[in-house]
Subunit: 193 residues, 2 copies
């Protein structure tokens, strides 16, 4: 008897008794967290605010994630990446990609700086952020313009993200997403010559 009781818990394939987790609640919490991430930035999010915006209790949060950081890491992962447009003209594709980034930096300047700051403190956040920041498609698009072996491919790829981020942080008042997009695309196109 005793051995049977102590063996059982090791494999627990099917014993869910009681009310089930409500997926709608899970989704609402993740969405609320993602919204607040965009609105107030990482370092000003409080679990109480996430719960209230989701119409949930803090208990519902901590029943699903062990810590605030774990919740936010998953929220970051669920945040949709931009569309990856494909046309015949790589410059058109690049303009769309850069424009996405510039508009985002203009509209939500608090997001990325907070994430960068947070990823230094929490490993899970770091991993989640890095997953979301895949520049390989940008790189491929630029490669189609300037050639895959061009010596400046790496710098040009990185600056499409770095310059909007930097300007949003230091000169947010004179930020013009449209003009910045043209500046960057024009530079890359000119390198191709």
């Amino acid at each position: 008897m005793i051995s049977a009781m102590t063996d059982e818990p090791t494999r627990r394939p099917a014993k869910p008794a009681g009310r089930k987790r409500d997926q709608d609640v899970t989704d609402a919490i993740l969405e609320a967290a993602a919204d607040l991430l965009l609105e107030v930035g990482f370092d000003r999010i409080r679990t109480q605010d996430v719960a209230e915006r989701a119409g949930a209790g803090k208990g519902a949060i901590y029943r699903r994630w062990p810590t605030k950081e774990a919740l936010l890491a998953e929220a970051i992962r669920t945040m949709p990446a931009g569309e990856a447009p494909v046309t015949d003209d790589p410059v058109t594709d690049l303009r769309a990609l850069v424009s996405q980034r510039c508009q985002s930096a203009e509209a939500k300047p608090d997001l990325v700086p907070g994430l960068i700051s947070a990823m230094r403190a929490d490993e899970g956040i770091e991993q989640a952020v890095k997953e979301g920041y895949d520049l390989s498609y940008v790189r491929d698009t630029i490669a189609r313009i300037i050639g895959p072996d061009h010596p400046h491919l790496d710098v040009l790829t990185d600056l499409t993200q770095a310059v909007p981020l930097m300007r949003a942080a230091f000169t947010p008042e004179e930020l013009d997403g449209e003009a910045m997009t043209e500046e960057i695309v024009s530079l890359i196109a000119s390198v191709a010559d």
Copy 2:
């Protein structure tokens, strides 16, 4: 009598009695704050740690600055900017400037991300950081290479700071200050053609 007593405090030109503020203590506190800013970043600094490293008490800090943020703002301002080298060859000057930035990003990756995050929360910090981030000399140097009216002058100026910052944040393990410097300088030089 009463009016005389109440008038006096309005102008207090010379009535310092008692022990004087020790400038060495002031300097030690600012230096300790700047050191910790470089070592642990803005958001992990505690006033207690600043006091201990300076060999001072917290009282000495709050006798001089009203808040932690005020202290750190002044500490940021006292942090020395890089040298501005001037030779006959603008490319040499640019290489020195970019190298400074790249080495800094490599050695102290926690500084700038923390500052960017902090300047969104505190006005004094924002002002102090912006004062320290004057890119006009970089811009002038690049202008000597590509011409003062070149349409890509602004982007190129900004990327000298933005790319090192970005790479330090996202790919710190594969950061090579020397190589990054050459990448950036080479790109700018190639635009001049």
